[in-house]
């Protein structure tokens, strides 16, 4: 990651150095954020201060002009410390990418100016009761009097919803015939009344603070991102690919951080006394964990290249690769950490206060298969496989 940041504070500092600064702050708070299930506010503030929240905003709008590859490298870096933070960051970048690619004037300049400064954290409001997590349909409809859009929307899970400065919200398009005519509408926090409900006490991903929100308010009609009813295009071109790429980077980072901490423990003077590093069982387990992560890493960058270069993401073989990345990263990153628990045993594999933090990594990574469920993706992949009877690879 050699891209120089040539604006503002970070005149001579690359993105990796900025990510290191955020990771250092995250490291100080990761234990408390996990224990208390609270949002990593200090790390988010550091993402604002370093302007990494504006990473994907073009330089002409005041952003850092970074690429999806930069998002993934930073996602891996942050994931090494805190998977919740890495997911928060990559999902925010996914929202920004939707604005960069699909917002029209005057919203485009107005919003990109704010996002480019790094000050605004954008949360995604796509979950809805009754749609089964299906992104491309919406029950709650936008109402319009021509100049204003009325938003009245309940979402059961909004990551960082209590701390977001703005929201991208999916709703059924005004006067839509079908629930799959979905619009994406932007709202600033001060344009809405936001009522949080329920408690957040999950097994892992505790710092993601993904709460239920009731959003109510009105926004100017020009705050639709993309064509009215045209969210399917944004989902296909931005939300889907960047979600799978970004999540996979966060998960890979988390498993890589866990393996790194285990290896440092084993190589430390105390570790060399406690563990027999010539043990064939231990060596084989380390090998398997490493192999799993190299496989995910290779798949991540192959998929990033496909997304960057393909002219048609909707081709079944391209969709299959994207889904394979998500499913494989979810399974293999979790399995790698599970291997490591066996490798180092009860004291360092299972207890909360071990410096390996395997216990937290395993809990966090358990959500990976559930987060846009692997079961659902396998059903989609079965259908896509039937559409590619020659079995060509992306």
């Amino acid at each position: 990651m050699t891209t120089a940041v040539n604006r503002g504070e970070a005149e001579t500092v690359g993105f990796d150095a900025l990510a290191d600064q955020v990771a250092a702050v995250a490291e100080e708070h990761v234990a408390a954020a996990d224990r208390e299930a609270v949002f990593p506010v200090a790390a988010l503030d550091e993402l604002r201060r370093t302007r990494l929240l504006g990473l994907l905003v073009p330089v002409e709008h005041g952003g850092l002009g970074g690429s999806v590859a930069d998002v993934l490298r930073i996602g891996i870096r942050l994931g090494r410390v805190d998977m919740s933070l890495a997911m928060i960051f990559t999902m925010h970048c996914q929202q920004v990418a939707a604005v960069v690619r699909h917002a029209a004037e005057p919203l485009r300049s107005e919003l990109l100016g704010r996002l480019g400064s790094g000050a605004e954290y954008l949360a995604s409001v796509t979950t809805e009761v009754g749609t089964g997590g299906h992104l491309l349909s919406a029950g709650s409809a936008l109402r319009s009097d021509g100049a204003q859009l009325a938003v009245d929307r309940f979402a059961p899970i909004v990551t960082g919803g209590a701390h977001a400065d703005g929201f991208l919200i999916t709703m059924r398009a005004v006067e839509a015939d079908a629930p799959n005519q979905v619009s994406l509408v932007y709202a600033r926090r001060d344009q809405l009344t936001t009522d949080a409900s329920g408690d957040w006490q999950p097994m892992g991903m505790r710092a993601s603070h993904s709460i239920a929100l009731q959003l109510t308010g009105t926004v100017p009609a020009h705050q639709i991102v993309g064509a009215p009813g045209g969210f399917a295009d944004i989902a296909g071109s931005v939300f889907g690919p960047l979600a799978h790429l970004g999540w996979s980077a966060a998960w890979l980072g988390t498993a890589a951080g866990a393996l790194s901490r285990v290896l440092r423990l084993l190589r430390s003077p105390a570790g060399r006394k406690r563990f027999d590093v010539k043990s064939e069982l231990l060596l084989t387990r380390l090998s398997k964990a490493r192999q799993r992560l190299d496989s995910v890493h290779a798949l991540l960058w192959r998929t990033e290249e496909m997304v960057r270069t393909t002219s048609n993401l909707s081709l079944p073989r391209n969709q299959l690769l994207l889904n394979a990345l998500k499913i494989t990263a979810a399974e293999q990153c979790h399995a790698a950490v599970d291997d490591l628990v066996d490798a180092v045993g009860l004291r360092h594999g299972y207890l909360k206060d071990s410096p390996t933090r395997l216990e937290q990594a395993l809990r966090d990574l358990r959500s990976a298969a559930l987060n846009y469920s692997n079961d659902r993706l396998h059903l989609a992949d079965g259908r896509l496989a039937l559409m590619d009877s020659e079995v060509r690879f992306a």
């Binding site: 015939d177 079908a178 399917a232 048609n312 909707s314 590619d388 060509r392």
Partner: protein, 81 residues
């Protein structure tokens, strides 16, 4: 588009509400999802005794009745698109 083709489409478009199917009719907007796209593909292939090329099975082909008909008619020797 021939009449057999539009008749094949109708059961898959649950939000069509009895409207006439034209070349511009958006298939997804009227209810065609990915599973139904597979079933529609099979129905078309059975009805016309053809196989649609893998390369044509993408979002653009399934976007409108007209775009799908162009793919289908290209595989029917006697048809006029």
């Amino acid at each position: 588009m021939d009449a057999r083709f539009t008749e094949l489409l109708v059961p898959f478009l649950k939000f069509a509400g009895g409207r006439e199917i034209t070349e511009d009719t958006g298939l997804r907007e009227l209810g065609l999802d990915s599973m139904q796209a597979i079933e529609l593909l099979f129905a078309i292939e059975d009805a016309y005794g053809i196989a649609l090329p893998d390369d044509e099975l993408n979002d653009e082909s399934f976007a409108t009745a007209g775009s799908l008909w162009r793919v289908v008619s290209a595989q029917i020797p006697e048809a006029v698109a």
